[in-house]
Subunit: 246 residues, 3 copies
Amino acid sequence: MFQAKINAGLLQSSIDAVGVFVDECKVRVDSEGLSVKAVDPANVGMVELDVPADSFDSFEADDELLGLNLTKFDDIIGMAKAGDVVALELDPETGKLKIQIDGLRYTLSLIDPESIHQEPNVPDLDLPGEVVLAGAEINRGIKASGMVSDHMAFGVEDKSFYMSAEGDQDDVRVDLTEDEVISLTAEEDARSLFSLDYLESMSKAIPSDAQVTLYVGSDFPVRMEFELQGGDADVSYLLAPRIENE
Amino acid sequence: MFQAKINAGLLQSSIDAVGVFVDECKVRVDSEGLSVKAVDPANVGMVELDVPADSFDSFEADDELLGLNLTKFDDIIGMAKAGDVVALELDPETGKLKIQIDGLRYTLSLIDPESIHQEPNVPDLDLPGEVVLAGAEINRGIKASGMVSDHMAFGVEDKSFYMSAEGDQDDVRVDLTEDEVISLTAEEDARSLFSLDYLESMSKAIPSDAQVTLYVGSDFPVRMEFELQGGDADVSYLLAPRIENE
Amino acid sequence: MFQAKINAGLLQSSIDAVGVFVDECKVRVDSEGLSVKAVDPANVGMVELDVPADSFDSFEADDELLGLNLTKFDDIIGMAKAGDVVALELDPETGKLKIQIDGLRYTLSLIDPESIHQEPNVPDLDLPGEVVLAGAEINRGIKASGMVSDHMAFGVEDKSFYMSAEGDQDDVRVDLTEDEVISLTAEEDARSLFSLDYLESMSKAIPSDAQVTLYVGSDFPVRMEFELQGGDADVSYLLAPRIENE
């Protein structure tokens, strides 16, 4: 069984964070809460979402695995007004998800979880650079980089964090010293290059006012962790690097 | 002769209400005011508009029948700012409509009324269910129904009004009890099915804050009546049902 | 050398004013400030832009001629927030333009000025009608005219300024008497016809709240002069007439 009530805004930003990489996903619910692990079809980007039970207005669940069409689910939740509560209930007879928003009842067919791409094993990487900064800063670096190239670097160097992109003609660079970010820990210099296609999608899901913890290595994946709605949900992205031609 | 001044917002919402079904229409003016009856080319939706003479800032008219291109007229009135007054005058010499908005003078050629689709005879139906509710509620039911199907039902059942749509996979339903609407009178249960193409167009012209009186029968047309600008114009829609396959 | 700081809003509206006619242009800087003269590829519209040195937050320049891709430059300056200061610096070694906006550093390749369309010799015309009016009035006349035709007239007649357009079916006319404009001087009646394609582009760059001085003759170009940001930059447009068929 699964039966829960949740703030519409929190639910929508959670869906959007996963929707960056996949159109459909397996949603796990159990007594701890709701969680998703997904990887994009090209195996380049992974996302982990955790919405703990106590972030819900009410939450009751046995272990269930739901196959969810995120695009459709996002449209439905988009019917809610700010502050609305969304009631979710798995109908044990039909296997469908009943969604109620202020008098509107939507019955959503679920997807057979077996037909959905397997959940990834998210590797536990030891990345030497760790920087905490505002989502707005990262989003700005991504946007500017997209003006000159289709890939960009994240790096740490001399107690600074940088984002940079080198185009055929023009270059972009943002340097943020230790004092200009919330915190910076760098065991050694590091730099990795990433596809802007992916970063630009991720950027849409990173709240400007969130504190993002970004972990970077040398030609290693980048990890970005942030909270939604001031801590009610945790999102973690892992993006594989592009190997740089020297 | 025809010479009148009217609030731009009232004029525009009146045009928009008719434009749901037709691009051009016959506009009747006489000493009582301005009125339109029109039916869409497929004979599925009808609209009646009445703007009484005393809703105008000034109004003088002999019996005249004007053939109006609504798309073009709507663009012209769109030049007005909120609160502007639009002056309309039929030029007896040229047969054109002179439109003045704050110093801007637009001379609009009219269409030969003979070339426009005949005005419909709007049938006087006795529909057993009558519900009064906010335009916002109807518009929400239409929007949600459009997510699962291309047609939806309006119905009354057990002292409740409902809107519902059944798609191949998903369903939507909104139930509003007697206490959740402004008023509900149902001599008997009733239910009819309608094309969402038409309802979605009508929805754009139904003000969220208007009280809409909706009359429904069993496999009969639905009638929706509402006022624009707090009573300065009356709109009535009649939409033919789709016959439901049992 | 060239090194300057300028308010982002002023810089962007200056670029936009030139971008009406060309995608790339020669930018002259010297001790007096920054200036541009450009003509569109069809030789129909010319623009002169002057941003005096003291409109910059700081300004140092020897005589330099920079070849600028306006579309790209506009995108970069679009990264600034309201009130941001943009720092510009010509790198003497690379010949590239270094642009800094709140920590973001963009290195922009310049275009060889020789490859850009020659700067026009702007003719010094003696036009008999001179009217000063709000940008909003001109923009409104252009918008309304575009609804009926692809060309429109500016004229002075009987101590009035008018804008008019005659379509196949409909006409538009705005008359503004001496009392309805800021000032009007007309040595003789005058009227010239212009392409709305050009005027609609220019309209986007004319601030609604700017005082525009418009000079009109008989089958002569129209000149429009206005200031950006309350005097920090001067823009002058000259648009060639279409010859009217009598």
